[in-house]
């Protein structure tokens, strides 16, 4: 067979050509590893995809160095873009049809300031909005709550009532612009506000395009903006999914996220495994709540990290697509091919940025963005070079956006679908990541599923161990971070940084007081009481009551206060 000839040639190469060089010039390291600790083999050849049944000698590994996986079948394993298992992409034309959405995460200070930044970014050519909310908003506190002190407007925009939301989207036609909102525990409230703003603009709900993150499980293990315990939180998640399935047909009801899990220190394999395990949990919860998987399946979406190990990242995205397609079709019973498609947004890795020599981060972000594009992302945020120090300035975010535009319009990689498909290393690594991720998913199943695994602290421990392992590698000099443990510079000059207006907290409190003074207090009280009743009666839809309350200018804090009263607060687990 052809493989026998290749194997014989490979063995001769190893013995003679390679052997000759290695005897005189040892390699830089004993072993080369990806960021996730997978071996980075010296060379990958067709033998890495030929499988153990290729007629080769038992026990002799292919030149790539890893144990052989089952023989590759192009149609089964890679297939064609737009068809199961979608390894090569979820659409047949991918970026030849339309470039990925350039969607920069943005938000700080007041709704008016953020509105200005949104308009700036749209003017500079980004093609979708992405809203960053401040921590009090994400955790269900109004700007005048004692716990909000010092935090208002710092990491995102402060939203207390519908009035802020109206200001946030002033002059931005929601019927035309796609918006992603990074909000989780109080996601229902923000989506309700968005829907009411759209309604006031005269934009039909069935035209609203965008995404709401609504992914509470990762909050418990990696991001920390939970409010309620897991069970009532899952109810809120499925309630929102049901509302979207019925009223917002082109809205992504959830963005099942691996970005934050990776940022917390997980490996690429864990990022895929824990994200998809959470996805399985959400699908199962929605089914238990009475929804048919194909009713919501096509509108699930995902959010991954774009990290610095270039080849591993490209393989990771492809592995995730194939694994999810298999899970949805073969395990979760989805019949609609659109339910099998893993559609995702990527953000380049914040944790890869350095405070030292910040301009170097332009390069890191470019490589990471390129990997995401070669991995087939639907939407992309590129970090600004100063983000290890502060939120992006207008100048630095412009460079980040230009990075995407240069990749899309100048580099040529968008002109063919899945250009790295078929590379021996890429296919081998895609297989490897899928197999390793599946092992984790099996482990999580044995623990009782994602929610149980979180309650038992399993996921958290895995992430912490990976984070610590990485730190040791860097401190021992076994992993290089340019500018940090190598190629350092003394006395650097820092670029001008964005400063959030220190008065934003005070001004936000004033705005909130004004809204409270103007609104119909009785209507607010009765809408909050109606919400409380619905919350107490498990099985009752919550979104309609939340929309009502929001419409009457009940504040986010007031609504969450009601829900806290019924659902309780999450106390923390597995630490």
């Amino acid at each position: 067979m052809a493989t026998d000839g290749t194997r014989a040639a490979g063995e001769r190469w190893e013995r003679d050509t390679l052997g000759r060089v290695l005897r005189r010039f040892p390699e830089r390291q004993e072993r080369f590893e990806t960021l996730s600790g997978l071996e980075a083999g010296r060379l990958y050849t067709p033998l890495d995809l030929a499988g153990p049944g290729s007629g080769a000698a038992e026990g002799s590994p292919p030149a790539g160095g890893e144990a052989a996986a089952p023989a590759h079948d192009y149609v089964r394993d890679e297939g064609f873009p737009g068809e199961f298992p979608f390894t090569r992409g979820i659409q047949p034309t991918m970026y030849r049809g339309r470039l990925w959405t350039m969607r920069q995460y943005a938000g700080f200070g007041s709704a008016a300031e953020t509105n200005r930044r949104f308009k700036y970014l749209l003017e500079q050519g980004q093609t979708g909005l992405s809203v960053a909310f401040d921590l009090p908003t994400q955790i269900g506190y109004d700007s005048d709550d004692p716990l909000a002190e010092g935090e208002v407007g710092k990491v995102g925009v402060a939203i207390d009532t519908l009035a802020d939301m109206e200001t946030l989207f002033d002059g931005i036609p929601l019927a035309k612009v796609s918006t992603s909102m990074t909000i989780n525990a109080p996601a229902s409230i923000l989506l309700a506000m968005y829907a009411v703003v759209a309604e006031k603009q005269g934009a039909p709900l069935d035209k609203l395009s965008g995404t709401i993150q609504n992914d509470i499980l990762k909050e418990y293990v990696a991001r920390g903006t939970y409010i309620f315990p897991p069970e009532p939180s899952m109810r809120l998640v499925t309630d929102l999914i049901a509302y979207c399935a019925e009223s917002l047909p082109v809205w992504n009801s959830i963005s099942i996220s691996g970005y934050h899990i990776r940022e917390a220190g997980s490996t690429a394999v864990q990022e895929v495994a824990f994200t998809l395990a959470n996805g399985v949990a959400y699908v199962q919860a929605a089914k238990r709540a009475g929804l048919d998987v194909d009713t919501f399946g096509p509108r699930l979406s995902f959010f991954f990290n774009g990290h610095i190990d270039f080849l591993e990242e490209v393989a990771k995205f492809r592995a995730a697509r194939r694994l999810w397609a298999r899970l949805m079709r073969d395990r979760l019973g989805a019949k609609d091919p659109r339910s099998w498609m893993l559609r995702f947004h990527t953000q380049t890795a914040g944790s890869s940025l350095t405070a030292q020599q910040p301009l170097n981060n332009v390069v890191r972000t470019a490589l990471e963005a390129l990997a995401a594009v070669l991995g087939g992302t639907q939407s992309l945020h590129t970090n600004s070079f100063d983000e290890a120090l502060a939120l992006p300035s207008e100048d630095s975010v412009r460079v980040a956006l230009r990075t995407q535009q240069i990749i899309g319009h100048e580099s040529g990689v968008a002109d063919s679908v899945d250009p790295l498909g078929g590379a021996y290393l890429i296919e081998s690594l895609t297989d490897r990541i899928e197999a390793e991720a599946l092992r984790y998913i099996d482990e999580i199943d044995r623990l009782g599923g994602a929610v149980a695994a979180i309650e038992k602290g399993f996921v958290q421990k895995e992430i912490e161990d990976s984070a610590y392992r990485y730190q040791r590698l860097v401190e021992e000099g076994r992993r290089t971070v340019v500018g940090v443990n190598a190629f350092q510079v003394e006395d650097e000059k820092m670029p001008p940084l964005l400063e959030v207006d220190p008065e934003v907290g005070r001004r936000q409190m004033a705005t909130l007081s004004e809204v409270r003074a103007r609104r119909d207090a009785k209507a607010v009280t009765s809408s909050l009481e109606a919400l409380r009743e619905a919350a107490v009666a498990t099985g009752t839809a919550l979104m309609p009551r939340i929309v009502d309350a929001v419409r009457r200018y009940a504040s986010l804090g007031e609504i969450c206060h009601v829900l806290r009263g019924v659902f309780g607060e999450y106390a923390g687990a597995g630490r």
């Binding site: 909000a148 710092k154 990491v155």
Partner: protein, 136 residues
């Protein structure tokens, strides 16, 4: 603070910030370096942190914040410690703290700020030196 025995450290996350990778890595590294470390978890108020320092007879309180709330919260922690007679506890900070903010924090009683890229060995060494000085 403890007069002898292993160095006792509280690692705390004041405010609403949920990014605890750094805090956990530092806590573990300090444990590996032979210190006794308590990690408080997320969403600690300055009062609760000071109470923990009191309860645990801490030599050091390490504060982590990536959300920009350090300007308000770190000095608050120092105040709460002083109110409880713990003014000699060594307070250090880390996270996303612009260099421009450090002087004000030092003024307010924070002994040192360890920004992104600080090796944990450097933090451990600083703590050892500072505690030795305090214990006399």
């Amino acid at each position: 603070m403890a007069r002898s025995g292993p160095i006792r450290v509280i690692v705390a996350k004041p405010g609403l910030d949920g990014h605890d990778r750094g805090a956990k890595v530092v806590a573990r590294a300090l444990r590996d370096a032979g210190m006794e470390v308590i990690y408080t978890g997320l969403r600690q108020t300055p009062e609760r942190i000071a109470e923990a320092a009191l309860d645990e007879d801490a030599d050091v309180v390490g504060l982590s914040s990536l959300s920009g709330a350090h300007r308000v919260l770190f000095p608050r922690v120092v105040d709460e410690l002083r109110k409880r007679g713990l003014g000699d506890v060594i307070v250090i900070g880390g996270g996303i703290i612009p260099a421009g903010d450090t002087p004000a924090l030092i003024q307010a009683g924070v002994r040192a700020v360890f920004g992104p890229g600080s090796p944990t060995s450097e933090i451990a060494e600083f703590i050892r030196g500072a505690v030795k000085e305090r214990r006399g």
